[in-house]
């Protein structure tokens, strides 16, 4: 894997990735570089260094990255030197410690950000449209400023499901003549032998995020997956995985199993079908560690933190939206009175 320095090839200043043109823009000299151009420049400048010393190259993989640890919640995020984390993206705390990163498994692939911060701000502001019960917290500039682009670590698992599954199936037929109604119940034992593969089932590798929240932010389009490069991180934060793959796979297996049972059930052509004995087994073919782009913001409402996230590739928004109790009561009472008066008038004068 080629590791890029995030320096502008023309002026040497720090350079950041721009999701809009999928290039690296230099704020100082205005130059724009594609991945290829960055790589060419990089190869030329580091060739002699690399050939001298293999161990140096290995260290360089993680060199140039800082790790920030939140004193309050313990979250760890990675940023390159060009990007500074001023507050914890998970709890909003500003007391965070900066360290040089030293160890860890490297992601193999990454989907670079496609949505820029302005799109994320617009999208978050639009959540309250058509949601009258939502507190208006995205009108607050303080909250808008906290919107941060974070690469979230995910595991992807390739799984193979094989084995037998039996269903208890029934058909019920009813008919009648003049005197009686007849009900005929046929019960079958349907046996199926199944085999199927699942590719790249996504599992959240960060314990910071609610798994359900990360489930909801799916799907990501894998066609945009590219080989991982530190250069994509410039301008964004990245989280280190803290859920091991052997823990994450359980969630992937559960989802694969449910789908396999569903598919087997669909192949049984009876009215009701209940799986009776399930001898399906799931084997892991391979797993992968990838980074996916997410715009996120934490909002404090009534002493509780609410996380909102936008899929940095597709723009899909997820989050647990709290109810504004005052508005909820107001709207309920208003609705109740209006509808009661209307229905009274209709019943009294029309009905």
């Amino acid at each position: 894997m080629e590791v890029l320095d995030n320096k502008c090839p023309s002026c040497g200043a720090k350079i950041t990735f721009n999701p809009k043109n999928q290039k690296w823009d230099c704020e100082y000299c205005g130059s724009k570089f594609s991945l290829e151009e960055m790589q060419n420049y990089n190869n030329a400048s580091s060739k002699e260094v690399n050939s001298k010393n293999e161990t140096f190259k290995k260290e360089k993989k993680l060199a140039g990255l800082d790790i920030y640890r939140c004193k309050s919640c313990g979250a760890e995020v990675i940023a390159d030197e060009a990007t500074t984390a001023a507050f914890c993206v998970y709890c909003g705390n500003t007391a965070i410690l900066k360290n040089k990163i030293t160890e860890g498994r490297m992601p193999t692939r990454i989907i670079p950000f496609k949505k820029v911060k302005e799109e994320a701000i617009d999208a978050f502001k639009n959540i309250s449209k058509n949601r009258p019960l939502m507190p208006k917290f995205f009108n607050d500039q303080k909250n808008i400023e906290k919107i941060t682009g974070v690469y979230i670590p995910f595991w992807t698992f390739d799984l193979k499901v094989t084995g037998n599954i039996d269903f208890n199936a029934t058909d019920i037929k009813t008919w009648s003549d003049y005197n009686y109604q007849y009900t005929k119940t046929d019960t079958y034992l349907s046996k199926r032998e199944a085999s199927m593969n699942f590719d790249n089932i996504l599992v959240d590798a960060s314990s910071r995020f609610d798994d359900d929240l990360m489930d909801s932010i799916e799907p990501f389009q894998y066609k945009d997956l590219v080989d991982y490069n530190h250069a994509y991180l410039s301008g964004f934060l990245a989280e280190k995985y803290d859920v091991e793959s052997d823990i994450g796979i359980k969630r992937a297996k559960t989802r694969a199993m449910n789908t396999a049972v569903d598919i087997a059930r669909e192949s049984v052509y009876h009215q009701t079908k209940i799986p009776t004995s399930n001898a399906l087994k799931i084997d892991e073919i391979q797993n992968d560690y990838i980074l996916l782009p997410v715009w996120m913001v934490n909002v404090k409402y009534k002493e509780k933190n609410y996380t909102f996230a936008m899929n940095g590739q597709t723009g899909k928004i997820v989050g647990e939206i709290p109810l504004d109790i005052g508005k909820t009561i107001l709207i309920s009472v208003f609705l109740f009175i209006i509808i009661a008066v209307l229905s009274f008038l209709i019943l009294w004068f029309v009905g």
Partner: protein
């Protein structure tokens, strides 16, 4: 001792002949209904109780006559009670219809009224309705009334059964025509509006609250399925058991009043119940 026959002995019949059919002038005599007329006892329609099967004591008949008079005065519907031990006609319905029509029961031109028949021959109770009584007693009310009294007949408690019957048809007449008894009433209208509003408000609020739910756990992985890799073999389809059960169908009629024509050509509603 000379037995003075009271009004209630009610088995006094006059003789019908081809010269004098003793029927109301609005009924046309034809070849087909001639026999029906001749086989129908001609009685005095003012007596109201015709106990040919002798199911009631004289005292009971007096009390029943009072009840029947009350009913007739209250609701302007004629009411006759007939019991027979031998039915010389094809069905209780035919007997009841003929008895009503050829004896000139019923008020107004539409012959409003009803007749309750206890047919010991067929062991069936039958009520026939005419004119305004057809609308008052729809199929539902007729079935309900008969259902509530037939057991008395089964238990040979005829007097109580008829008392109960008069009570029930009186209650129905009091509550008005079916479907029209819900008069507009301020408190019930307010109650209905509140209930309707409560339901609609709850539905709207549930929809609004659900809009705030943007997080849903994923429990399946269908989007990651490699469709080309799916192989699903049917390795056995065994019929384990089959069984058929049957339930008797209860032939209950609709909420309307179904009518038929008697041999006289008049229209009747009605219904029967075996006991």
């Amino acid at each position: 001792m000379i037995n003075i026959t009271p009004v209630f002995a009610s088995t006094n019949t006059k003789e019908r002949t081809e010269e004098n059919y003793l029927i109301s002038s609005d009924i046309k005599i034809t070849e087909s209904n001639k026999n029906n007329i001749l086989s129908t006892p001609a009685i005095d329609e003012k007596e109201k109780i015709y106990d040919f099967a002798d199911l009631f004591t004289e005292e009971e008949e007096q009390k029943l006559y009072q009840k029947i008079s009350q009913y007739i005065d209250s609701y302007q519907l004629d009411l006759a009670l007939v019991t027979i031990s031998q039915n010389n006609k094809s069905s209780p319905r035919e007997y009841a219809d003929d008895f009503y029509d050829y004896n000139n029961f019923g008020f107004n031109n539409t012959k409003d009224g009803l007749l309750f028949l206890i047919d010991m021959d067929n062991r069936e109770i039958y009520m026939t309705t005419t004119g305004a009584a057809i609308n008052m007693y729809n199929d539902y009310r007729i079935n309900k009334a008969l259902e509530q009294v037939y057991q008395y007949m089964t238990n040979q408690n005829y007097y109580q059964g008829v008392l109960q019957y008069i009570q029930i048809i009186g209650d129905y007449a009091k509550s008005g025509l079916p479907g029209k008894q819900d008069q507009k009433n301020l408190t019930t209208t307010i109650c209905y509006s509140i209930i309707i509003s409560l339901i609609i408000t709850i539905i709207i609020m549930v929809i609004l609250i659900n809009k705030n739910k943007l997080v849903r756990k994923k429990t399946t992985a269908r989007e990651y399925l490699n469709k080309d890799s799916v192989s699903m073999k049917n390795i056995g389809e065994i019929l384990v058991s089959t069984n058929t059960v049957r339930h008797a169908i209860n032939h209950s009629s609709s909420s309307g009043s179904s009518t038929h024509s008697g041999s006289s050509g008049r229209s009747h509603g009605g219904g029967g119940h075996r006991f």
